[in-house]
Subunit: 388 residues, 2 copies
C-alpha cells in the first residue's frame, strides 16, 4: 500500500432546485461570469433562463461561450481564454457534461497565461493558476464536476490528450438529477460505460488492493449495472438518475485510488479511436473493455476477475476461479451490448483496420502502457483485432 | 431522496512518514501552535519528539495542553481555551484519538468567545468561529479527524453532549496507520464497534435509501468485520490498520448520509451509560446495538435486516427474510462478544438497573428518539433490560 494525499475540496449541492444557491456561490469570486455550454439543450430545458434569473438577482454580469463540442476542441478553449482576458472575467460557470466542463477547465487555465493553451498538452506547459470554476452538471459520465482533469482534442494534429492539475478542480458543483431527464437512452448508456471504465481502470490493477476501496468500487459498479437500464427505460426516474449522477463524481475524483500507482489502459486506447473517428467516448470504451479484459486474463491475474465476478455480478463463488473470470467477462459484454444495446464491434461503428497501426502507436506513446498488464504496440493491435 | 450539501474540505495525508508535511501545513495559519494530547503515549512511541522536531524546522512556537481524558471533559476545554486566549495561539494541533480531537474542536471554538465553553452544550450558544485545527490520528474510531462534530462530558452535571458545526472541521489530518500499532486489542475492538455504530445508525433508517451509499456502508462494515480481528491478533499488520483507519474517517464524515434525515438511536443511549459509568464508548455501543436491532425488528423493518444479512454477513439470500434478519443479529452479536471478546451484558460491566430510569429519561430528552423506530422512555428501559 502506498501513501497518498486525499484533497477534494469541491462543495456539492445535490438535488432538485438548488440553484437558489448559485448566485451566492458565484459572487464570492467576483461579478463577471463567463457562462460556457454546448448546444442549445440548456435553453430547451429552461435551465438557461433559470441561470440568467439567478445571476440577475445578485447583479452578476453575464458573458457567454456556447457551442462547446463533444470531445471538446482546442479552438473552443482558445476562444474562451480570449474572452476571459478581454473581459476580465472573474469566474467561470460551466453548464453541461464532461466536455463542457473539461473545456472550461482549460479556458480557466488559459486565461492566466500568455501562451497558446494547446501548449498545456503539446509542450506540457506548467499549470500554475486558473480562474475559479463553478459547474452545473447535465450528464452523468465523465466525473469532471469533482475531479482535476480534462481531455482536449486537436483535430488538426489528430490528438486527444488529458491532463490533471489541482488548480482545475471546480470550487462548487451543482448536481441536480432532474437535469439529466432529457439525456437520451444512448447517451445515458455511453455515460455509464465511461463511469464503469473509470472504476475498472483502477480496480483491475496488479498493485496491492485497498480492501475498503475495492468494496466501494464494487458498490459503484453494482449501482451502474442496476440503474442504467432503469434510467434508459424511465428517463424521469429520480432514484436512478441520482444514483448514476453521484456515482459519476465518485468514480473518478481520486478517492478510490488510495495510493495505487496506476497507468490506465482503455482510456489511452479509446482516445485514439475518438481522435480519429470522433465516436462517443463511452461507446469506444464499451468496445475495448471486454476485449482488454480477455487479453489480460491469465493465471497471474485471474483472482481479480474472480473477485469482480462474485462481488459485482453475483456469480457462484464456489465455481473455479477461471470459470468465474470468463463468466464475468461474458456478463459484462452482455451488459454493454445487450442490456445497454451498444454496438459490439469496430466494424459496426466503422473503425477500420488500416488505422490500427497509427492508433496503437499513439496509444502507447511512451513505448508501453504499464497498466493491469503491460501492453506494447503489438498487444494493442491484437486487442483492436479482437474488436473487429 | 432528500437534497443535501456535501462539503468536506479536509486534506488528508495518508500513510507512513508523512510528517515532513506537518510544518508546511501549520505555518499557513501562523507561528503559535497549541499541541493537545492525552496521556503520555505519544511520548512513548516517539511521536512527540518527531512533532517537536518538525515544528522547530519551521520556527513554530510550541505550547502544550496534555492530559485530555477519554470521554473528554469540559474542564480540559476550558483550560485549552484559556491558553489560546492568553498566548494568542494561531493554530491547534490535536494528536490522539477522538477524545483529544473532540476536546480540541471546542477549545478552538472556545478560544473565539467570551463565555464559558459549556454554554455551547447547555445553552446551545452559537458557534460562529474557531481557530484552525490540524490533527494527527492515533486511534481509529470516532472519525473526528474528518468530521465537524465532537462530544464533551460534564461529570458535575452528569451530561455528555455532542454537537456539530462546520467551523470545527479540521483543515488537515495526518492518518498514519503505524501510529495505531500500539493500540491494545481491547481498544482496537472498541474503536471498531464505534465505527460500526456510526454506519449502522445511518444504515438502519426508515427513510428511502440511496443505493450507492448503502453499498458503501456495506463495504465499510465488511471491512471492519474482516480487519478488526486481524489488527487485534497482529497489531503491526499495516493493511489491517490502514483499512480500519480510512474506514473510521469515512464512516462519519457525512458522505454516507446522502440527505437522509436522521436521528441516531444507540449513541444517545450510550452517552448516558458512559456519562454515569465512564465506560468505553465502543463497549457501551456493543452492548446496546444487538438489543436495539432485536427490539426494532418487525414486518415493517425486516427488509433492511435482510439486506444487511445478505450483503454484510453473506447469509443465504434464498432464506426467508425474517430468518435472515434474526441470523444477522446473531452474527453481529457473535462478532462483538465472541470474535472481539467484549463483555456481553450490563451486569458484567457493572451497569445497574437502578439507573435505567434516569438514563432513559435523559437519552430521550425531547420525549422520544425518532430513529429507525421511534423510542420513548419505556422503550429505552426495555432495551436496557435486554442488556442485563
Amino acid at each position: 500500500m502506498n501513501n497518498f494525499v486525499y484533497d477534494v475540496p469541491v462543495k456539492v449541492y445535490f438535488g432538485e432546485n438548488q440553484l437558489s444557491n448559485l448566485g451566492n456561490e458565484l459572487i464570492k469570486y467576483g461579478k463577471k461570469v463567463l457562462l460556457t455550454y454546448g448546444g442549445g439543450s440548456i435553453k430547451k430545458i429552461g435551465l438557461y433562463d433559470k441561470i440568467v434569473n439567478e445571476l440577475e438577482k445578485f447583479g452578476l454580469e453575464l458573458f457567454e461561450l456556447s457551442g462547446i463540442e463533444p470531445n471538446p476542441r482546442i479552438e473552443s478553449v482558445r476562444e474562451g481564454a480570449k474572452i476571459c482576458k478581454e473581459q476580465n472575467i472573474d469566474v467561470l460557470l460551466a453548464v453541461g457534461g464532461g466536455s463542457t466542463i473539461d473545456a472550461t477547465k482549460y479556458i480557466a487555465a488559459g486565461a492566466c497565461v500568455d501562451f497558446d493553451p494547446w501548449d498545456f498538452f503539446s509542450k506540457w506547459a506548467p499549470i500554475e493558476k486558473a480562474l475559479p470554476i463553478v459547474t452545473i452538471l447535465t450528464l452523468s459520465a465523465a466525473g469532471s464536476e469533482m475531479d482535476s482533469g480534462g481531455v482536449i482534442s486537436n483535430l488538426e494534429t489528430k490528438d486527444k490528450i488529458g491532463r490533471l492539475s489541482p488548480y482545475l478542480l471546480p470550487k462548487v458543483s451543482f448536481l441536480d438529477p432532474t437535469l439529466t431527464y432529457t439525456v437520451s437512452p444512448y447517451q445515458t448508456a455511453c455515460g455509464s460505460v465511461d463511469m464503469m471504465a473509470h472504476i475498472m481502470e483502477v480496480y483491475f490493477n496488479i498493485e496491492k488492493d485497498f480492501y475498503m476501496l475495492d468494496c466501494f468500487m464494487e458498490g459503484m459498479m453494482k449501482t451502474i449495472i442496476k440503474y442504467t437500464p432503469i434510467a434508459m427505460k424511465e428517463p424521469e426516474n429520480y432514484e436512478a438518475r441520482a444514483n448514476l449522477m453521484w456515482t459519476s463524481s465518485w468514480a473518478i475524483n481520486g478517492f478510490v485510488n488510495g495510493g495505487k500507482k496506476q497507468e490506465w489502459s482503455c482510456h489511452p486506447m479509446e482516445h485514439e479511436l475518438s481522435a480519429i473517428y470522433d465516436i462517443t467516448h463511452g461507446l469506444g470504451l464499451a468496445l475495448l473493455i471486454p476485449r482488454w479484459l480477455e487479453y489480460c486474463l491469465d493465471e497471474t491475474t485471474v483472482s481479480k476477475y474472480y473477485q469482480f465476478g462474485v462481488n459485482v455480478f453475483d456469480i457462484d463463488k464456489n465455481l473455479e476461479q477461471m470459470e468465474v473470470a470468463k463468466e464475468s467477462i461474458k456478463r459484462l459484454s452482455k451488459f454493454f451490448f445487450n442490456t445497454l444495446g451498444l454496438d459490439s464491434t469496430f466494424t459496426k461503428v466503422g473503425i477500420k483496420q488500416e488505422d490500427f497501426e497509427i492508433m496503437a502507436q499513439k496509444a502507447c506513446s511512451n513505448g508501453t502502457i504499464k497498466g493491469f498488464k503491460t501492453l506494447n504496440k503489438e498487444d494493442i493491435i491484437k486487442i483492436f483485432e479482437m474488436c473487429l
